[in-house]
Symmetry: C2
Subunit: 476 residues, 2 copies
């Protein structure tokens, strides 16, 4: 099978990005559709990416004092009603258990769409005094939101995520935590996923149901649409009042705590696919690639080739590299194409002549360059190369993202900007009506407020004095 | 607070083991009750044990070629009916989603009690040829079985577990996998949890719903009851036929695969508590202890004590030891008691006089011995000590277990044996009626068949020729 045949397995990335995405996630065996509408099966190749994401992010959490725990899946429906905006936001999407153990339940139970309510209930029991604060707990779990339109990783009825929930003695400390976790997400996205993000406060319209303030990180996808890749919420005392989370302060007075929550999900895998992919398929950043280096023996039947391939693999594995020798009975060309489609960052080709010359051919997935490299100190060379690839992917992605930020001072300008696949930065008065107009006219939404910039004129939509500069974009 | 006060917080382990267990799991903050009956919240100290269990067991899985994946939580109810015994076994315990997204569902959905049916459905789609075999997939997830009587970790409506599901081309290979995973579990229990186990085939009465054969591992708890700590099932072609898992064999014929499944759960935490605990509370094996070494400064206000404590901690952490300095403003005695209750394997006490003498007092939780040890090469000393403690805990537990195996040749003898908190090994004819009689007369069940022994006489219950030697015990 030649390269062309392989490429024709997946739709043209320029012509039909949505189909390209679907083809890639299915054909690389990241994912499959589950039998219940809107559900996905995360297959081993996809789940290994999630494991690498978890491991990296979890160690960042632990470095800032967050501990993991596990709270129940099922939440009494009545809990949602305790916070008015929260129930309005989530009730329509909830899956409900009405029967269990062969009998009808007295109270229907929701499968968690998010866990503020049940975690808040436990916190009210655990927290007595300022000495118990801060509480910094995270859980890795499955959640369920019944969605009408679903796509693997991007929007599914069940997905995997982490949700952190913290309680603090003061507003300042809670807000500081909210921003700290937003920045942790940004660093993770940039350093580990090689994806540059815009971070900032969400508008009132776009914030989380029940939050005082939501901060988000937005990543530009190759089709010009933005993907919300993580959020961090400051609740003030909203949930503390609804769930009676009180503590005896240093001053001897009983008072409500200040809470936050923050989450990222398997959606991050979708972000990686759509930020880095190309016509041939996946391009995975080394830090999360299940296989970082694939070694393909050439003329494998010749004496010593398989042995040399495995010797190279062992040397790489000893350096902590996830390496794999593809010994299957297929042509090298077929294998090259398959591993390109699967996005393996570095491919090593080794044949009898290479062995003679003490080199191996080394191909980078990100820029498709292929060069012979000496087998002396090969594992160190490859370690450095993986680091180079990781950084190059970020730089390329950042360059692309930076070129996709334009300014506009009119509704028409916003439309043109998003039509041209950009983030459009515009002055905004702060009112909901103007956001609605942008949605109607340009099918775009306010992604985040640019907190590094000051409004310097009038609202691009209504012409009244501007309060903020906002990034508008079409979004997933 | 003196030691006595602490101990009186938890019930007497000799007088009321059940209450001791409940007190220990709640007061050490391993767990709390969730708001929905039968659910538990796994608190950070308990979840950290689970994380250590996962990390260790998962690396063992990966060493034998098993990969992780994730399958949906919700399973169409109709799937259970495809395997007759399976539906009979699980339907009564299932929690059912009838409504979602604000509407009634066309078909009710079960929250997975186990995933053979949905995984089988996906396997039938993925497997075409013998080249696709074996399939060796595991998932770490939550499952739900609606139980009437529940206890934290031991039996809860929702619990966390891993379930491995494999498909093979032949009966021999599938049976080999079943036994290989049983042995992996046994090694894990013995090496990591320091718990000796009896392994063997389950009787027909006790096997998994839908299996051709179930193999289990049983651990003796301090109260003389056995705990089933893991199972491995051989399904033959039962599930392959029910879910149409077929492959084109090397011989060119289309044939059904042979499947297995194997699982362990958060129940393992209950096993650790009840196999190693004592009057003062938890005794945790070093390999899974969230904190392996707690360092308690004595006369902490004196210059240099806190600094030395942290210096010791840093040296331990550098060796990969999970160490913690307890700097809280409480008396050393109070801290000693608390960390004993929480089962921390090694406690280091460091005060001004110790520093002068270049020693630290080192107390072992498992045997309560306390000795001064030189601070020279201290991290190496402690590394070796943790290993010693791990081994000593296993040896002690094994000695206890071995002393709890007795023989009986009558129903009365079985009753006496289990009354005296033993595994009772007896000849057995192999019939269900005799198992039922043991259950009625002695409130005991057949735990596993002793596959290392040959029946050598008549059934202890009915007097007919014996087929097997079986271990009977009261059980959780």
């Amino acid at each position: 099978m030649d390269n062309k045949q392989f490429v024709t397995q997946i739709a043209d990335i320029e012509q039909n990005f949505a189909q390209w995405y679907t083809d890639v996630v299915l054909k690389t065996e990241l994912v499959d559709y589950g039998p219940v509408k809107g559900t996905m099966v995360i297959r081993p190749y996809g789940y290994a990416i999630w494991e690498n994401i978890q491991k990296d992010m979890d160690s960042r959490f632990k470095q800032v004092g967050v501990k993991n725990a596990y709270f129940p899946l099922l939440i009494p429906m009545s809990y949602f009603s305790k916070e008015a905006e929260h129930v309005e936001g989530f009730a329509p999407e909830v899956a409900v258990v009405t029967h269990a153990g062969g009998a009808k339940l007295e109270e229907p139970l929701a499968i968690r769409p998010t866990s503020e309510t049940i975690i808040g209930t436990m916190y009210s029991k655990w927290i007595q005094s300022y000495r118990d604060l801060p509480v910094l707990i995270n859980q890795w779990c499955n959640v369920m939101r019944w969605e009408k339109t679903t796509r693997p990783f991007l929007r599914t009825s069940e997905f995997l995520w982490q949700e952190g929930h913290t309680v603090h003695a003061s507003e300042e400390e809670a807000m500081e935590e909210t921003i700290k976790m937003l920045n942790l997400y940004r660093e993770f996205a940039e350093e580990t996923l090689a994806i540059p993000v815009l971070t900032g406060r969400k508008t009132e319209k776009e914030k989380f149901a029940g939050a005082k303030a939501t901060f988000g990180m937005e990543a530009m996808m190759l089709d010009g649409k933005s993907l919300q890749a993580g959020t961090s919420h400051y609740f003030g005392q909203n949930f503390a009042e609804a769930f009676n989370i009180k503590f005896l302060g240093k001053n001897g007075a009983l008072q409500y705590g200040y809470t936050t929550s923050w989450g990222t999900s398997t959606r991050l895998i979708g972000a990686v696919i759509m930020a880095h992919g190309d016509a041939r398929g996946l391009v995975l950043p080394p830090r999360i690639a299940p296989i970082q280096v694939v070694i393909v023996p050439v003329a494998a039947h010749k004496g010593g080739v398989i042995e040399k391939a495995n010797e190279i693999k062992d040397a790489l594995v000893a350096k902590g590299i996830r390496a794999f020798v593809d010994e299957r009975d297929m042509s090298p060309g077929w294998k090259f194409n398959e591993w390109e489609m699967k996005g393996v960052p570095v491919r090593v080709e080794i044949g009898p002549r290479d062995i003679e010359n003490n080199v191996a051919m080394v191909a980078r997935r990100d820029n498709l360059e292929k060069v012979p490299l000496s087998l002396d100190g090969f594992a160190d060379t490859i370690t450095a190369l993986l680091d180079t690839v990781q950084k190059a992917m970020f730089e390329k992605s950042k360059k692309n993202r930076d070129a996709r930020i334009v300014e506009a001072d009119s509704l028409e300008g916003i439309l043109q900007g998003v039509d041209n696949k950009n983030f459009v930065r515009a002055n905004w008065c702060g009112c909901r009506e103007c956001e609605d107009k942008v949605k109607e006219y340009a099918q775009a939404t306010a992604r985040v407020i640019d907190e590094n910039a000051t409004a310097d004129g009038v609202c691009a939509i209504c012409g009244k004095p501007a309060k903020h500069k906002v990034f508008f974009a079409r979004a997933y």
